[in-house]
């Protein structure tokens, strides 16, 4: 059925993708090991790098948990309920995707800044610092990854319909039991897919975190900020080693998503 496309077009496309993506990305791994294994091991023994990786893990973990709870709840409300302002809510939930990371950072700093923020001043008065501290990083990371879980679950919820849920309810199951036994198993792959995307996005966030963290080395520096710092300080292997770690996370995420997609496609066809 498929007609053979012009060979020239194929060659141009392959060349473009190799030169723009495949080759550069492969260099991050070879670059990390350019001078052997020792400098890489040194990088990962550096307490500052370890701190940064830990902070990234904490921020990404919170972002995933918050966005999953919010995402499942809002997706259920949007698909299964009618209420005034539903379309508005659906549009607002997508908003974070259209905002530049630096604007996200600025926005959060303006509201939660300890000196003049609308909410930052009262929070600082009760001893809670948001900006230049872990909560600010968590907020920024959560903001930029907000819609990812919702967007994955909504189509699945629409797809499965409400028949089984209604059957469970008519047999006397409460809302929580229905959710746990019927809805959750039905949306689980969409949920995993959304969580993986959310995690990859959260681990990689840079601009928003840079604004709200203050980039205090060893305290509020995340892994992506460390990559920049190491490179600027001419520690090329170190920058590449941390970058390769982050790139591995994203490539594993792509692999998981790819496997899940193949699985759902096999099932539906």
């Amino acid at each position: 059925m498929a007609r053979r496309g012009p060979v020239v077009l194929r060659a141009v496309v392959i060349a473009y993708l190799v030169l723009l993506v495949a080759w550069p990305v492969s260099l991050v791994f070879t670059g990390a090991f350019a001078n052997g294994l020792a400098p890489v091991l040194d990088t990962f023994r550096d307490p500052l790098v370890l701190n940064a990786l830990r902070l990234t893990a904490i921020a990404a973990g919170w972002a995933v948990v918050l966005n999953t709870v919010f995402g499942v709840g809002v997706a259920l409300l949007l698909v299964r309920r009618t209420f005034p302002g539903r379309r508005l809510l659906a549009a607002l939930v997508d908003l974070p995707l259209a905002v530049s990371p630096v604007v996200v950072g600025l926005a959060i700093a303006l509201v939660y800044g300890a000196r003049s923020g609308w909410l930052g001043v009262p929070l600082a008065n009760v001893g809670l610092d948001i900006i230049y501290s872990t909560p600010g990083i968590v907020l920024a990371t959560t903001f930029i990854a907000l819609p990812l879980v919702i967007r994955e679950i909504i189509p699945v919820l629409e797809e499965v319909g409400t028949e089984q849920e209604q059957a469970a309810r008519s047999l006397g199951a409460g809302p929580w039991t229905t959710f746990r036994r019927i809805t959750l198993p039905a949306i689980r792959w969409g949920l995993v897919y959304g969580v993986v995307l959310c995690l990859a996005r959260a681990v990689g966030e840079f601009g928003a975190v840079k604004v709200v963290s203050g980039n205090l080395i060893g305290r509020t520096q995340t892994a992506t900020l460390t990559v920049e710092e190491l490179y600027m300080n001419f520690d090329r292997e170190g920058a590449f080693a941390v970058a390769a770690t982050l790139a591995s996370v994203s490539i594993i995420a792509i692999a998981i998503v790819g496997l899940l997609r193949a699985r759902t496609e096999r099932r539906t066809s």
Binding site: Y16, F70, A91, L97, V102, A247
Partner: protein
């Protein structure tokens, strides 16, 4: 495909701007699903067509909605409102003063110019890539499909670093584009690569081939068939992907930091300029540039919605 039956339950999702295309991160999630969608259409219509309208809120759901809206307000709406309020506090004169300041104006001009250039590149190359992925058959095609996803998942600062590895001072190719405008183009092309591909690909997959076969049997050449039959059908998807890619290009920051050198008046983009204002403590000026970027994002989102509606009629 399933449009006629997706009445009530689908309202929420079909009203969302990015749904038929991609998203800002932006993985065109729903469009991917469309690939398998053809097979599902009949099943969906039988189950969904008879589904009763969604019930109104119960007490518990109402409480949940309240919490969700509160969280959304604290996290997203209030901060974005603060940006606009801070920008507006300086008055119209303040806005004009910031936007006409030579270094800022140069940064904005460079951003719009480069985002537009990359959008054109993506419209052409993205369509070509989608075409090769859908219509061409050769070993390793699946690998290309995976490569398209890499820019979405890779942290932006890592994207800048990897481009620097191949096209920077220690390039194995012997080209050094670091700290030039070309570097900005490369970085933006990298991070926006998937948008057009992922919006065009599902449309191309579900495209009815009979019109093409008819044209070809009437003696039309391959190029004529593409230009007269395929391209018009793909146009809304290309436009949607191009709009997303433009919005992302305007907003980009992370991938540019290392490779563009951030030279004032030459390679400094709007996001970098904004960060310069923030680090200098001038939040008001940063907010003005931020509001300007927000306005562009909003305009593009609206335009995208418009294209989607046109696309829906066509599809």
């Amino acid at each position: 495909m399933t449009t006629p039956v997706r009445d009530d339950a689908a309202v929420a999702s079909s009203s969302r701007p990015g749904v038929a295309g991609g998203d800002g991160v932006g993985r065109p999630v729903t469009s991917r699903r469309r690939r398998g969608g053809g097979a599902r259409g009949s099943h969906a219509s039988s189950s969904r067509g008879v589904a009763p309208a969604a019930p109104p809120l119960s007490l518990g759901a109402g409480l949940g909605l309240g919490l969700a809206v509160l969280w959304l307000s604290l996290l997203v709406l209030l901060p974005l409102a603060a940006v606009i309020a801070t920008a507006a506090a300086g008055g119209w004169d303040g806005v004009v003063r910031v936007l006409t300041q030579p270094q800022t104006a140069a940064a904005i001009r460079l951003t719009l110019e480069q985002a537009a250039l990359v959008t054109v590149i993506n419209a052409v190359m993205g369509t070509a890539i989608a075409w090769v992925l859908v219509r061409d058959r050769f070993p390793g095609r699946r690998v290309l499909d995976v490569v398209i996803d890499v820019p979405f998942a890779l942290p932006t600062v890592v994207a800048g670093l990897v481009l620097l590895a191949l096209y920077g001072p220690q390039s194995p190719l012997g080209v050094d584009i670091a700290n030039t405008k070309v570097a900005v183009t490369f970085a933006l092309a990298f991070v926006t690569l998937p948008f057009v591909v992922r919006t065009v690909q599902p449309v191309l997959e579900t495209l009815d081939r009979s019109a093409e076969d008819a044209a070809r049997s009437l003696g039309a050449s391959g190029w004529t068939v593409f230009r007269r039959i395929v391209l018009p059908a793909l146009a809304p998807a290309i436009a949607a992907g191009a709009a997303l890619s433009f919005a992302r290009g305007v907003a980009e920051y992370g991938s540019l930091v290392l490779i563009s050198g951030n030279l004032a008046m030459r390679t400094e983009v709007a996001s970098v300029r904004m960060l310069g204002y923030i680090e200098g403590g001038d939040m008001a000026a940063a907010a003005v540039v931020a509001t300007f970027l927000l306005a562009i994002s909003l305009a593009v989102t609206l335009a995208l919605g418009l294209f989607n509606r046109v696309g829906g009629r066509r599809g």
